[in-house]
Amino acid sequence: MLDINVYNSDFENKWCPGCGNFDILSAMKNAFVDLGISPQKLLIVSGIGQAAKTPHFLKCNAFHSLHGRALPIATGAKIANHDLTIVVNSGDGDCYGEGGNHLINAIRRNIDLTLLVHNNMVYGLTKGQASPTSELGTVTKIQLHGVISAPLNPISFALSLGATFIARGFSGDGEQLSKLIESGVTHKGFSIIDILQPCVSFNRINTHSWYKSRVYDLEKTDYVPDNWMRAMEISQDWGDKIPTGIIFQKDTPSFTDRIDTLKESTLINKKYSEERLNNVLSKL
């Protein structure tokens, strides 16, 4: 078994004390230890935002990219070498705002990645503006009279697009979260885990205790995440009771499984052939 300390990075962490990101980071490390994925075998791709800084605080191969663009970067890397284990750290702004189109299409492709969306319902890095998941009426320094656009429901959104693994976690339940991350990484296909987390600096409503008093674990009920209609129904639950856990899962071939060229070997391991190209060129 791997020592959890192998993931320790000596890069200075500047997240606010009490930030939900710390718990998500711990849950990730625990999941990787349980799965036996060493830092050398792990590629983390991220966009921009406080969540997207995660790979700097954890020893691994990392591509900290552009706002919203983590999924296409990760998709390209997976196509080049489908043996890679790729985890994407993103936030509600990065993933549901700037990168919305990429999320739609990553789901459609069913590319075998695990997407962790650190969803604190606010922009943290840019200091407190509304995000696509901010609730109606949320007052910020920009939305002075409250948010007037309806919040995105990531779970029903992902379901409607046919996502093959959808879960909701909570940064305050590390044990459950690390199990969800393990299940997401093990799932063959695109996994999205929307992780509810407090923002101690900019979201004074959806705090740790706000979530704590509302979340419940679907696994401790008789819920089975294999029925799409039932999942859609559960995805609408928000308010006094917020369901967490695996909401929907199904087995469908992933993007790279569907490409004949990738059946026998990864793209990176294929060989150039002068003869093969000259065969085509000689017919010009």
Binding site: F11, P39, Q40, K41, L42, L43, V45, I48, K53, P55, H56, K59, C60, N61, A62, F63, H64, S65, L66, G68, R69, L71, P72, I73, A74, T75, G76, A77, K78, I79, A80, N81, D83, L84, T85, N101, H102, I104, N105, I259, D260, T261, L262, L267, I268, K270, K271, Y272, E274, E275, R276, L277, N278, V280, L281, L284
Partner: protein, 446 residues
């Protein structure tokens, strides 16, 4: 049954004084699977069209060479696609946009027989970021678009620049701005391309003039992009991509593909590997992620040698200098512009796909005893100033021939060599330039 197409074909070819046998040969071949009646009807329709223009003569007469041409019949799009394979490209991602789509269509046709994956991205942002991701993971990758799509890609271009990830981007120009003239041709993106994306970072820009050059330069682009860990942009246009050319030079695959990446065994202490290690050449040994002990960390933020974010003055300055310092060797890779009739008093200067028209115009002018030569650029950026100065300093004057409004290459020459063009033949109506357009104007200048 409608055979008006055949009437029109007959009339059109009749005006151009093509022998009727050529047309009837094509029609018989075209309709061979149809009944005899269909063939006969189309032949008589064509003949009707052909005969009806008998008494009309065009200003220009064309000479028809009945010999079978030697060489390959190929358009630019196919040549770019084959050139990518000759550069061992294995992944192509694109969003459809004229006149670049043909390149991806050609790559798709080849994908079943080569280790190649072609993916239609959800937008140009995804297209370029996908190829950055695949290249980061070790696979040579390409995207192709036109000016509007390239605008969207500039964000990713900067990411390739700061993460020093090799990528090859084809910008097939059409007139703009915005949607412009989607199916027409232009050379209006040169200055945009060499400066595209915020701040400063090195890149190569090439503009092949023929399908053969498109093939060779694309293969070379993959090598240079990986050797220097910089993006390469290939400028083409609707005219080069969509026109058929006869290429006499044989297309040949390279024997082998040199790679410019390292593994654990090439690194002294792989566990302490730094992706952005400072070196004299500015090029750091490039390991691939998840390929050994060496951890590869990159970021679009400014960073220290280990690839982690840094706001330290020393890191910012060192990294900006490191990237910049590649240019001195990159310039040595630039081939001088092609100089024809070097001792001429007047040189016509052009780049990219106007090459053929300019060369033909020079021959016409010389046949009229005019002392005209030409200087043709394919390797444009980093700008090969020394080559350009030595080519231009002997002539009395030089004239720019470009498909834009402001003589963009002419501006660049003046900026970087101090030499000024005396006149410019500029066409920006979306149509290709013809030798006659050039000849008529040059006669006025001299």
């Amino acid at each position: 049954m409608n055979s008006s197409n055949s009437v029109a074909a007959g009339a059109g070819l009749g005006l151009m004084e093509v022998a009727f046998e050529s047309l009837s040969h094509i029609l018989k071949k075209k309709f061979q699977s149809k009944s005899k009646d269909v063939v006969e009807m189309n032949l008589s329709a064509a003949k009707f069209g052909y005969d009806s223009v008998k008494d009309i003569s065009l200003k220009t007469t064309l000479k028809w060479n009945r010999r079978k041409p030697k060489g390959a019949l190929i358009d630019g799009s196919k040549a770019f696609a084959l050139g990518a394979l000759a550069g061992d490209c294995r992944f192509a991602s694109f969003y459809p946009m004229s006149p670049a789509t043909g390149i991806m269509a050609q790559l798709s046709l080849l994908a079943d027989d080569f280790p190649l994956v072609v993916e239609q991205a959800e937008d140009e942002l995804a297209a370029i970021n996908m190829i950055i991701g695949s290249s980061f993971a070790g696979v040579r990758s390409i995207t192709a678009t036109s000016g509007g799509g390239f605008c969207l890609m500039t964000e990713g271009l900067g990411l390739a620049g700061i993460t020093e990830t090799p990528v090859v981007i084809i910008n097939a120009q059409r007139p703009g701005p915005a949607t412009g003239l989607p199916t027409r041709t232009a050379q209006g993106d040169l200055l945009f391309t060499i400066r595209a994306a915020q701040d400063e970072f090195p890149r190569f820009v090439f503009a092949p003039g023929t399908p053969f050059e498109a093939f060779q330069i694309t293969a070379r682009a993959f090598k240079l992009s990986e050797k220097y860990q910089v993006p390469v942009i290939l400028l083409t246009d609707q005219f080069l991509n969509d026109s058929l050319f006869i290429s006499e030079k044989p297309f040949r695959a390279p024997k082998s593909i040199p790679r410019f990446t390292v593994e654990d065994k090439d690194i002294k202490a792989p566990e302490q590997y730094n992706r952005f290690k400072l070196t004299k050449s500015g090029v750091s040994p490039r390991a691939l992620p998840c390929n050994g002990e060496a951890l590869v960390v990159v970021t679009g933020n400014e960073h220290s040698e280990d690839g982690h974010i840094s706001e330290e003055i020393k890191d910012r300055v060192n990294m900006a200098r490191k990237r910049r310092s590649k240019v001195k060797n990159m310039i040595k890779e630039m081939k001088p512009p092609q100089l024809l009739y070097e001792k001429s008093k007047t040189l016509l200067v052009c780049w990219g796909s106007t090459k053929g028209a300019v060369m033909e115009a020079v021959e016409v002018l010389r046949s009229r005893k005019m002392d005209v030569g030409c200087l043709i650029f394919s390797d444009i950026w980093p700008f090969p100033s020394d080559h350009v100065i030595s080519a231009l300093e002997k002539c009395k004057k030089f004239v720019m021939v470009e498909l834009n409004q402001t003589a963009q290459l002419g501006q660049l020459i003046r900026e970087l060599t101090g030499l000024s063009y005396s006149d410019a033949i500029l066409k920006f109506d979306g149509r290709p330039i013809y030798p006659n357009d050039i000849v008529e104007r040059v006669i006025q200048f001299i």
